[in-house]
Amino acid sequence: MKEVAIQVEHLSHYYGQHRSLKDINLQVYRNEILGIIGPAKSGKSTFLSCLNRLNDLIPGSRVEGRIVIDGQDIYGPRVDVVALRRKLGIVFATPVPLPMSIYENVVYGVRLLGKNNRRELDQIVEESLEKAGLWGEVKDRLHTSALKLSGGQQQRLCIARVLALKPHYILLDEPTSGLDPISTMKIEDSLRALKANYTIILVTNNTKQAARVTDRTAFFLMGELIEINETPIIFTRPRDKRTEDYLEGRFG
């Protein structure tokens, strides 16, 4: 029996008057890669930002329903939002290295915890970059600016930066949308390797990527969860006509 890591119950989300997520119910299992596909504006990114409460930062954002992560209702009182965000690291569509060195980017979140021991930080940097598949390319220039890396390298740096915090979950929001096929392949390889230790939610508008990388896939359409199932089933015999139409490229 698979262990349920995240339980989402009747989740609705509003931006002001606009209802951007409508009554979402789903489970995420531990150590799986869950893909979320769907056309633009279907609520995929909003769903991710509900999970680590980054949507708190957007004025007019409001949530209904329940999200339980590792047994904790994350919208309950007494939730440490800062700790929650460390537990659910997120990688955005556009790679955003902070304007500092590669090294400092990786340890940014770790330093916030007050860790400053040089040897410990060195080790975290090497481990995280190694896991993100970037160590070999940058180990000789860790103290140069991260802004000088290529787009693909920057995105892997962003993944390393999240891994440095030892999160339990990695949320990826169309992480390869701006990257070339080779960089995309490298990131997909990293994701497969990471699955052993992390639970991953991958939002992608590239359905082939979902087919290549994920264990299960959820299809979102205009704020609704249309269906969720094992990836091979979604791609070969979807239950809903709209899923089939989307996958065959009839819209989206």
Partner: protein, 279 residues
């Protein structure tokens, strides 16, 4: 009808605009020439290291240089944290709305008040009410309020221009708002903030009206922040207006102008290096 062919028209217009643009530069060159031509011959080590004697007819201007430095230093010491703090509050800690509009409008109004009114305000509040007397402290505090709007506005612009994505990333890596401000937002905004501070230094060094009312015009060497003292700009004003000594007045003006130019050049050089290091 007089018709001009387009190429001639283009030529005439560009010469005209070129002429208009050069007027600004010509004025600057004119001022510098007059000041330096009359002032530079006065400059000597003695001029910079001796105190004024005989009401400023003899000796140097050391005490006025130090008074200027102390006054400006106090003004910056007070206005920079206040101004940057206000800018951080307006951009990071509150939503755009009635309160921010009122604060911003207030700052704009403050910027429009003539400096002599600031002098009067400083005289009433610091010199009389708080009993600081004519002193470096009263003058510095008055200048602080005068330069506050500049620092608020430039800092706010600088902070606003930091990409939103940096903040989002910082929050997503588990930082608090304050950590995001100090570790990501401010370091990126520093060049803009420093520009505002330099503008303010220039204004403080050159200010007379607000200072003469609050710091006084004593020629003695300032010994504490409660000493009444005379800044370079005030010294120049008194020397020239009372006809004490035009040569010494020009000498003072030259030191004033050269130090402002030097501060500008030095800071732009340092900012250039800072930006290079960051990117």
């Amino acid at each position: 009808m007089l018709r001009i062919n387009p190429r001639t028209e283009q030529k005439i217009i560009s010469y005209l605009l070129y002429f208009l643009t050069s007027i600004a530069i010509i004025v600057l060159i004119f001022i510098l020439t007059v000041i330096l031509k009359n002032g530079l011959p006065q400059l000597s080590l003695e001029f910079l290291t001796k105190n004024p004697a005989d009401m400023g007819r003899e000796g140097g201007i050391l005490s006025t240089i130090l008074a200027t430095v102390f006054l400006t230093f106090i003004a910056l010491l007070v206005a920079t944290p206040l101004g940057v703090g206000t800018a951080i509050y307006l951009t990071e800690y509150t939503l755009e709305g009635r309160v921010t509009k009122i604060i911003r409008f207030g700052a704009e109004c403050l910027a429009g008040i003539p400096s002599i009114i600031f002098g009067l305000f400083g005289f009433i509040l610091f010199v009389n009410k708080l009993n600081f007397g004519w002193s470096i402290l009263s003058g510095g505090l008055t200048l602080a309020f005068m330069i506050l709007p500049t620092i608020i506005r430039t800092s706010e612009e600088a902070i606003k221009s930091v990409p939103m994505a940096y903040r989002l990333v910082s929050f997503s890596l588990g930082s608090t708002r304050w950590q995001t401000v100090t570790k990501v937002v401010l370091p990126s905004a520093i060049p803009g903030i420093v520009t505002g501070v330099i503008l303010s230094i220039g204004r403080s060094i050159g200010e007379t009206a607000a200072v003469i009312f609050t710091a006084g015009s004593a020629l003695r060497m300032p010994t504490s922040i409660f000493s009444s003292s005379r800044t370079m700009a005030v010294h120049f004003y008194i020397l020239a207006k009372e006809g004490v000594s035009m040569p010494k007045a020009y000498g003072t003006a030259a030191v004033l102008v050269i130090s402002i130019l030097a501060i500008n050049l030095l800071t732009y050089y340092m900012m250039g290096r800072y930006i290079k290091k960051k990117s």
